[in-house]
Symmetry: D2
Subunit: 350 residues, 4 copies
Amino acid sequence: MTGKPNTIRTAILGASGYTGAELLRFLTRHPGYDIRALTAERQAGKPIDAVYPHLGGMGLPDLVKVEDVDFSGIDAVFCGLPHGTTQEIIQALPAHVKIVDLSADFRLEDGETYAEWYGHPHRAPELQKEAVYGLTEMYRDAIRAARLVANPGCYTTTAELPLMPLLRAGAISTEDIIIDAKSGVSGAGRALKESMLFAEASEGIHAYGIAGHRHRPEIEQELSKAAGQPVEVSFTPHLMPMNRGILATIYVRLADGRTPGDLRDTLANHYANEAFVRVLPAGAVPATRHVRGSNHCLIGVSETGLRGRAVIVSVLDNLVKGASGQAIQNMNLMVDFDETSGLENAPVFP
Amino acid sequence: MTGKPNTIRTAILGASGYTGAELLRFLTRHPGYDIRALTAERQAGKPIDAVYPHLGGMGLPDLVKVEDVDFSGIDAVFCGLPHGTTQEIIQALPAHVKIVDLSADFRLEDGETYAEWYGHPHRAPELQKEAVYGLTEMYRDAIRAARLVANPGCYTTTAELPLMPLLRAGAISTEDIIIDAKSGVSGAGRALKESMLFAEASEGIHAYGIAGHRHRPEIEQELSKAAGQPVEVSFTPHLMPMNRGILATIYVRLADGRTPGDLRDTLANHYANEAFVRVLPAGAVPATRHVRGSNHCLIGVSETGLRGRAVIVSVLDNLVKGASGQAIQNMNLMVDFDETSGLENAPVFP
Amino acid sequence: MTGKPNTIRTAILGASGYTGAELLRFLTRHPGYDIRALTAERQAGKPIDAVYPHLGGMGLPDLVKVEDVDFSGIDAVFCGLPHGTTQEIIQALPAHVKIVDLSADFRLEDGETYAEWYGHPHRAPELQKEAVYGLTEMYRDAIRAARLVANPGCYTTTAELPLMPLLRAGAISTEDIIIDAKSGVSGAGRALKESMLFAEASEGIHAYGIAGHRHRPEIEQELSKAAGQPVEVSFTPHLMPMNRGILATIYVRLADGRTPGDLRDTLANHYANEAFVRVLPAGAVPATRHVRGSNHCLIGVSETGLRGRAVIVSVLDNLVKGASGQAIQNMNLMVDFDETSGLENAPVFP
Amino acid sequence: MTGKPNTIRTAILGASGYTGAELLRFLTRHPGYDIRALTAERQAGKPIDAVYPHLGGMGLPDLVKVEDVDFSGIDAVFCGLPHGTTQEIIQALPAHVKIVDLSADFRLEDGETYAEWYGHPHRAPELQKEAVYGLTEMYRDAIRAARLVANPGCYTTTAELPLMPLLRAGAISTEDIIIDAKSGVSGAGRALKESMLFAEASEGIHAYGIAGHRHRPEIEQELSKAAGQPVEVSFTPHLMPMNRGILATIYVRLADGRTPGDLRDTLANHYANEAFVRVLPAGAVPATRHVRGSNHCLIGVSETGLRGRAVIVSVLDNLVKGASGQAIQNMNLMVDFDETSGLENAPVFP
């Protein structure tokens, strides 16, 4: 795949994780990106199909260490490295390189909040200020002009896409927002943890990180910006036996005089011209299996048993719109490609 | 299995459903019950292993029609028939027979509420008044004296076990109770529905019955009794890819001055002597896989991001404590057996 | 999607089945096909997202009855109708229409064999003679010239791709070929069967059709043609809990002097220039998850404990290379498109 | 659970593995065993519910190191330690202790075969000679008299139960026995391996250990004893997405004049009085889900497309009859309990 003319010379840092594999699934079909380097520290020296057999036979470069990449010949970097190390590696990249970072390192805009949730001061505070939050549908213009985009978390994207337009429109209360989220296992990555073994994760569900998941401050930051005032939320993630998908059931308090139908209309109008966000008609139910493998987000709004409240259900594929798909969507803007190019895949069902 | 002396002669009506099979899993190991009749309308005439191969070789009687059972030789009936027909069949049973009904027919105490949610007036209103609601831990004495017990729904048991003691104790507000429930597929029974096909139900999650699931009025009836005033709830069930298990994530508002730890203490004290309900210490997370196949219910209480609120997580096996196990627990009381007898099975993990 | 210039005007008959949905997943991204008609008898009149929500928002035509399609404006038909009715509907299509039939109706070349396995004489014997068997890699030239292609079965494709070149080359014995196949559930289609319920199909495996699955005579027909003499096989399919994928473990007797390595070399040479069939090096193990969602087939050859024998493992996605993907591959040839166009999707993992 | 009179004082070595948990599931309901010690090297000092939350609240002793167990007060040991270390620990146990070893350390009777497959000479050759192979239905008398029983492997039990009686009876050829086995993931234990992650093991199947799985010499040892002559087999295990269960599809060559029906009769007669092995009538299909959680083995025999051959399907739960259940069955014999006591659980379905 080397040497396509007029293409964006691309490196994927941290290619051995699931987000790396997912980037490759899309980029290998995208005519505009030329994959020049794939990095993976412990697997350096191996061909990509040693870690991802399904990516064999596609002419991809072998895995190397980050330090062995010549970034002078690279235009675009997708960075899927662990939180923490990311800051230092991105800081060392040459200025001409455009970067979409899939880690959490640059998502929080406030240095103190970062330090509180991550346990250490930020190591690249200048970049932290420069980074643009990559929720494409909300920050499209800023992303287009950015050099460094902080790609949002999977849970956060699922919650923010329905909530931000409603808060901006004053259609819901800023108080008492409850986000009950259910995720497939791939969001946890490929690391070896007992709770991720098939025998432990299948045939069951449990909540985790109830008291404090790191996606909560990220959600609160964005909802606060949308509302123009501080917003706090209750956020409870659950792990369930599927590979891909997040479903967030969101309980909101209606602003005075609003109905669940009003919320649906507000969202439908807001997203009418978006390629990847679809607001379903009354009665239709979003299901994660209807977005699997695609960059789509589906949103539904329903009544509930409690007066003055509505239930919003939002679904997406955590590896696509929740990670690698949105990353490509952002990079497409940054390098002046059609925003949807390479992401037109229909969902894979069943 | 015929002819054990001093045993309860038992019939299972509707033995071809999953609750029927689950009753047999426990009763075949219980020395006190002698299975005399198994009914199944369309499968009448067949041996039980024609519908449940895993129950072959146990000497169980063949399936017959209800009308072909001689109830004069039956002491106890477990009734797992569809909603609606149940009323008429139970009304026709002789007075000496003790009955645990697993359908929803006798759970709602108020005739009008029944008619509203089920679309027709109740056909056995006298029995509706007589029936005792079978949440064992709450109504043990009444159950012991009852002839007809209405076994609670699976979702409702999961929600009521933590919420009723808290409402009785005034530890939580009666307002703004939000129940987000996730269920495995066996709760829907063995009927052929497209949404229950493996290819449709696996690898995904969706909400259903958001606007009005029939377990909501049942929950509200019991919570209102516990609170001594009308309680309304938001109840959203979800279907997810596992066979057994319900997890309810319940968002409650604390009563003035209470903390999540107080709620945990209240529940721990309340259930201290119960064999099947266990309140976990702070930080421990209930998971459905830790109760699979057993009559256990596990409850945890946590803080959440919103002040004045707590998150309660409750899990059980919908076919056991949520149906057949609790049914046997109730019948044990009614026929004066040890309440836990036959239900001592440890969970099946993995 | 109407009115693209220079495109193949296309109808999908039986679009409400899984193979129909899968055809649409690929064809909606293929610039060369213009989807003009989708048929579904019972669902006629509905939009496609009433049966497949994941295909909403793509501008596809509503479902109609076959009799309501104006085939004068159709160039290409993909036929995914049930076995039996297919014959009559295809016979009634105008002569200018090119057809890939995904049913079993035209796969068996011998009328008597057809009648024996399907219980009635063929109703379109002339077409049966005309039809070209659509195992693309084996019959590419004939397919290119065909008007009617009988797309192979999913099990048969998995078995024939490794076995036919070996039999042609005389590298294995024609005797004692044992095919042990494991399939995901989507191969059974979307019909309501108890054995296909999640609660019945998950967490287990069983064999079916041991004495006589209809794919056996199809396999034997093709292997006999490849060997130049009658070949009989033992074929045992199993149903297992996954959505997509077939893995065939094939036990063969080596021809005199051949080793498992020779078999691997024969296959590797044979498929060296194929885009969709990949022969793995010694020691690498084909897994269905490495082909999921793609048109790929992976083949491995190993030694076994018995002298003079080898084990071949072959995997593909039953809905893609085993059905809709191969159907498009064939139609691409018939309408003179690049054979691989629209089928370049990398596998979806995890 | 301390201090029951007239009970067998029992220790479980390696209680933190799945076989340990499964032993406890059965033993906690068995009135005859008093659990005095549970060992786990790395988890020593923790309560059992720190590693198995589903076993909390049962009054079990905390985990300790093996060296901290006082074996003078122990009558029976179940040993579920890793292969290799087992030998030395068992060698150090006092002579009065009865032992069922669930590892592979004492299954192979021949020292050279052991060294060949495990890479080092046996470290307790005297015990290797003394150990009795614990396939209960075959070696019941020897087991009853034994001090040390080597509990068979899960694959081997699945294959040996149908094959040994047929070989003894001369009903099948000793040549050309092909065993295609499919296993759930719990057979691999709780160790952290990438291939066992949910995201890697779900939605797929693959073969492994084709060239040489360590259960092959064990199978060949037992089949050879049954046949009275050396028997070699082809054995191919597969890993598939379920927690529990093994299904072996076994292809055999009929002895002269025998039919598949003869094989079925031979097995049905042989196992007529066995509590845990059931031979199904013609046409019935064994499924792993029909034995889940129970000590049952189901066997079916069918015709196949090849003359002179039959297909045998055998299923069991790898953690029960394939490990912990059979271990208790053996210990029951060794301590003179009813062989089936504590193992009467019906299968858990769905």
